[in-house]
């Protein structure tokens, strides 16, 4: 955004420093998952439709950014979005690499596994339309 306004120069991007950087994801409380699994599945079907829409209609998708973020339209239309996987899943290797860096720099105490807190079973099966 700073670049688009002629204020800054990008010295090094997140991707330059840590390729395929995984920023964030969608979570639900276990209580809600247990009580309303069908609602979660329905939400994720809608989310996957959004991923596909962003891939196929990127410019139209960008038009929605100002309303929700407060970023000016001229900036929003030229900013770079994420590389959204249409399956909602990312390779374990990307995530493990970030974990190892967090340990190396002292931001995480040990090599904790994310297996207990990741559950892709609510997503539509890969390949399902």
């Amino acid at each position: 955004m700073l670049e688009e306004h002629g204020v800054s120069r990008l010295l090094s991007s997140f991707h330059d420093i840590i390729p395929n950087f995984v920023f964030s994801g969608v979570f639900f409380s276990n209580a809600f998952l247990d009580a309303h699994p069908e609602q979660v599945r329905a939400f994720l079907r809608g989310l996957v439709k959004s991923f596909v829409f962003i891939h196929e209609h990127g410019a139209e998708a960008m038009e929605f950014i100002p309303k929700y973020t407060g970023v000016e339209r001229d900036v929003a239309l030229v900013c770079s979005t994420r590389n959204f996987s249409v399956t909602g899943r990312e390779p374990d290797g990307f995530i493990d690499h970030q974990r190892d860096l967090m340990i190396k720099f002292g931001f995480l105490s040990k090599a904790v596994s994310l297996d207990p807190v990741i559950d892709y079973s609510y997503l539509p099966p890969i390949g399902e339309k």
């Binding site: 700073l2 920023f23 969608v26 439709k49 929700y68 959204f84 967090m102 720099f105 931001f107 105490s109």
Partner: protein, 190 residues
């Protein structure tokens, strides 16, 4: 007295006798999700604007909450059902057995990514090595500190070689411009 009885009966009717609001039977269930006004959440915005969630039978409401700890606490209290959580927070959730689950990622960086370390347009800083001794503004999140630490290490530097200024508000992106223009910092991670 008669008016009071009528009012009481109306309240009972409207709340189904439970004291809680009753939604119309044909309206979809509402899922409340936290958001922080970031580009990562574009799929939320698209789903809302294009009606994808309602097509699938749920209504989504976004609730603005800052800070991973606050977001997780809100979910555990039942103020929200879930939301957007940084990867770094997820590691800590796993470490502390916090009862939540990530069900989908929200994308990765790519060669066109513009998030990163920015310097003033006219700055003399040309490489990461030139950041030595400079003031660098960042949010202080684990994500931003990991990025800066790795960028410096790749060039043989450490955090001790720069002057980190923690606390910029990532939820106010338009303010980043003012910070950099003020010349109080030499670089900003955003």
């Amino acid at each position: 007295m008669k008016r009071l009885i009528v009012l009481s009966l109306a309240v009972l009717f409207l709340t189904g006798g439970t004291g809680l609001p009753v939604k119309a039977d044909d309206s979809p269930p509402i899922i409340r999700l936290s958001y922080v006004r970031e580009i990562d959440e574009l799929p939320f915005y698209v789903g809302l604007e294009k009606g994808f969630f309602e097509e699938e039978g749920v209504k989504v409401e976004l609730v603005r909450i800052g800070g991973a700890t606050n977001i997780m606490a809100a979910a555990l209290r039942g103020d929200i059902e879930g939301g957007n959580i940084p990867l770094a927070a997820l590691f800590h959730a796993s470490l502390r057995n916090i009862p939540l689950k990530l069900v989908s990622w929200l994308g990765t960086s790519h060669p066109g990514t513009k998030c990163g370390i920015h310097v003033s347009k006219d700055s003399d800083i040309q490489t990461i090595k030139d950041l030595k001794g400079k003031r660098i503004a960042l949010s202080g999140s684990i994500t931003s500190k990991t990025i800066l630490s790795e960028a410096l290490e790749l060039e043989g530097l450490t955090m001790k070689d720069v002057k980190p200024m923690l606390g910029i508000d990532l939820q106010e992106p338009m303010k980043h411009e003012a910070i950099l223009k003020s010349s109080q910092v030499h670089a900003i991670i955003t």
